[in-house]
């Protein structure tokens, strides 16, 4: 009996895949960015909690600092995320991603934010738990752009941003949306 149920469930899942994740032209870009973000967000959260939160803040075994190379310390979570994004860009131009904020510490990183990106960052900050999806044209190329809220998952996220001399906002607390992960996929070309 259980075998029959399993088969039915499995069949239903297989049948459901084309409906939920593909369009006439292939996989829905929103599903692709959701999948990519799931990987990014999981890795980022684990680094923040298991390395920075645990080894730096809790046990004080190592330090995590902005100038980690000279300081012989661990990179900050945002730097680790950016290095990953840069390494991905070395390998492919099928998609790109970055960490953005309406309250950026690293101002040049935010200088080129598009109107859609700003709208997305505002949306995810105001609509907790929701993602933002849209399309935009940059330099004559059409992109699918998704924005996911980036939340302060540990105390260190909030304190570090609040205390940084270049931070334009100093009242973050755990659970606050501090910015967003922007994923962009070119739709043509």
């Amino acid at each position: 009996m259980s075998k029959i149920i399993n088969m039915l469930v499995g069949g239903a899942m297989l049948a459901a895949i084309p409906v939920s994740t593909t369009s006439a032209d292939g996989i829905d870009p929103a599903d692709v960015t959701d999948m990519l973000h799931a990987v990014m967000d999981s890795d980022r959260t684990i680094y923040t909690k298991m390395i920075v939160g645990r080894l730096v803040a809790e046990h004080k075994l190592i330090k995590a600092t902005e100038n980690f190379e000279d300081d012989i310390s661990a990179p900050l979570p945002a730097q680790m995320f950016r290095m990953g994004a840069e390494a991905v860009a070395d390998r492919t131009d099928l998609f790109e991603y970055s960490l953005q904020s309406l309250w950026p510490i690293n101002k040049p990183n935010a200088e080129n934010q598009t109107e859609l990106e700003k709208e997305g960052l505002k949306f995810v900050a105001e609509n907790i738990g929701e993602n933002f999806y849209g399309e935009e044209v940059i330099d004559d190329l059409k992109y699918f752009t998704a924005v996911y809220a980036d939340v302060a998952v540990a105390e260190v996220c909030a304190t570090c941003h609040n205390e940084h001399k270049d931070s334009p906002r100093t009242d973050f607390k755990v659970g606050d949306v501090m910015g967003g992960v922007v994923i962009r996929i070119p739709l043509e070309g």
Partner: protein, 523 residues
């Protein structure tokens, strides 16, 4: 019907084009390549400008068929063969990865930093500025338009001051970035009891020589080895049999009576010098360098047959690998960099061998000083001297580091900075060290600043790539100046061209405010 005249015109054009291609080909592969130069190359590149394929790695077919982007990328890759390691070591402030992505399209349109040649175009001496930059001086403004609004201290600053005032470099800011300024901003001008750590070790007499002067050399050497082990292990436990080790080391030492060399090569001065050298102390007999493949033989006839009178870089590099590698990355030995285009190989057999022989070019020889771009700053009587051999600077038998540290440099270099060295405090300290009044590592030679000793694993070696510590000048701050001086003093001194020219005879005439601004932001 085709007009006969038209046919002749077509034939003439085809034959002319073919003729041009053949002539160009002959010039390129084996002829006077300088006829193909479209303009002089920049500074030290002049030493390799006729090894065209070193930079122009794409062939004729690629040039005709590939996109400009791919060709530009290939050229940039060629730059990287010599310069990428240096950029990585400098933690390049503007790596290409910062210019990737859809949103950077506008930035790239203004400054396409994907390619080195965007800023460093070659063969255009008429527009090339210092640091081999061929773009106008306002290149920073392409991106950093809002810096005057974001930083109060930067409001109203001219674009000409970004890189010229000792504050920023495009690539290397390892001694200039804000957190570093804050960390070292309170340093004194002159550090008390300043000693160059590695130079001190290097210039302390070799322990084996000191031990030999003692009544009981084995015990003296054993004691030294025990002390060293204790220091390393930070505990009073000897893990090795240092008495046996000391005996083995002393057994290796060679004396004049041990020389094994064909009679005609036994020069008494050379033997006397060699006897007190580190080479003899380490058990290296003449053949180790003069006939390395037969270094263990005592057969003088065999040695004579295989003797090299003036061993070159290839022999030295067998043991002095780091020094040799860095030497080929600097201006003195760049012609021997492993990636510089090599001559075509000639097939031993086959029908093409004759043709290839005709077009075979010759390997690059060491550059003569008169061929270098700054020959005007060199002594006229050494223009014929070749650089690119280790023994141009090192006395081959004495391995006298003192000669290579000052005399070797000043025997060729004739600019004001070099001449003024002999009036400088640095020279004064060097004299004190030589006379024994100053401790090892307190004197400052030319090489101490331009070819400093740098860390490598558990040890150190003398970097022979002087370019790595010279341009931009601020590259010297961390590995060199800060051994004895504070960061602020170092920045001020290097930003004062007159003081540099006088070889730091005096104090900086102006103060660079970067540290003050950085510290103020900390308040």
């Amino acid at each position: 019907m085709i007009n006969r005249n038209h046919m002749l015109w077509v034939l003439w054009i085809i034959l002319s084009l073919m003729g041009m291609m053949i002539i160009t080909g002959v010039i390129f592969v084996g002829g006077p390549r300088h006829l193909l130069l479209i303009g002089k190359t920049t500074a030290a590149h002049g030493q390799i400008e006729l090894a065209c394929e070193s930079c122009h790695t794409t062939g004729l077919i690629d040039n005709l068929t590939k996109s400009p982007k791919k060709l530009a990328a290939a050229m940039t890759k060629a730059c990287g063969t010599c310069h990428l390691e240096e950029l990585n070591a400098a933690n390049d402030s503007h790596p290409t990865k910062k210019f990737r992505g859809a949103k950077k399209a506008k930035t790239r349109a203004q400054l396409n930093a994907f390619y080195c040649q965007t800023c460093h175009a070659e063969h255009v001496p008429e527009i090339t500025r210092p640091m081999a930059v061929s773009l106008p001086q306002d290149l920073c403004v392409a991106c950093h338009t809002k810096i005057g609004e974001e930083r109060e201290s930067h409001a109203g600053l001219e674009f000409t001051t970004c890189a010229s005032a000792g504050c920023h470099n495009y690539h290397d800011n390892t001694a200039l970035y804000e957190a570093f300024l804050v960390k070292h901003g309170h340093g004194e001008d002159f550090l008390p009891d300043a000693v160059q750590e590695f130079a001190a070790i290097s210039r302390t007499p070799a322990i084996i020589r000191t031990a030999l002067d003692e009544d009981d050399p084995i015990t003296a050497l054993e004691t030294y080895l025990n002390d060293r082990d204790t220091q390393k292990a930070e505990q009073d436990v000897q893990t090795t049999d240092n008495r046996t080790k000391a005996k083995e080391m002393l057994d290796l030492v060679l004396y004049a009576k041990d020389v094994i060399a064909p009679e005609q090569y036994q020069d008494q001065d050379a033997i006397t010098a060699w006897e007190s050298s580190a080479h003899a102390g380490a058990g290296l007999n003449c053949a180790a360098c003069h006939a390395p493949d037969f270094k263990d033989t005592t057969d003088l006839a065999l040695l004579e047959e295989n003797w090299t009178e003036r061993p070159g870089l290839a022999v030295c590099s067998d043991c002095h690998e780091n020094q040799a590698e860095t030497f080929t990355m600097g201006k003195h030995g760049m012609r021997f960099h492993p990636e510089i285009a090599k001559p075509r190989t000639v097939e031993a057999d086959g029908p093409m061998s004759i043709a290839v022989h005709v077009f075979k070019d010759t390997p690059l020889k060491p550059t003569s000083i008169g061929q270098t771009s700054r020959k005007d700053l060199m002594k006229p009587d050494v223009h014929d001297m070749e650089i690119g051999n280790c023994n141009t600077c090192h006395k081959p038998h004495e391995v006298n580091l003192e000669v290579a540290g000052v005399e070797a440099c000043t025997s060729c270099h004739n600019d004001d900075h070099t001449q003024n060295y002999f009036n400088s405090r640095h020279f004064e300290l060097w004299q004190l060290e030589l006379s024994g009044e100053g401790a090892p590592g307190t004197g400052v030679t030319c090489a101490d600043c331009h070819m400093p000793k740098i860390e490598a694993g558990d040890s150190f070696f003398t970097s022979h790539n002087q370019n790595d510590f010279l341009r931009p000048k601020e590259k010297m701050i961390r590995p060199v100046c800060m051994s004895c001086h504070g960061l602020g003093f170092s920045i001020d001194a290097l930003a004062d061209p007159k003081l540099v020219e006088s070889n730091f005879n005096g104090r900086p005439s102006k103060h660079i405010e970067s540290i003050d601004w950085a510290l103020k932001r900390e308040e």
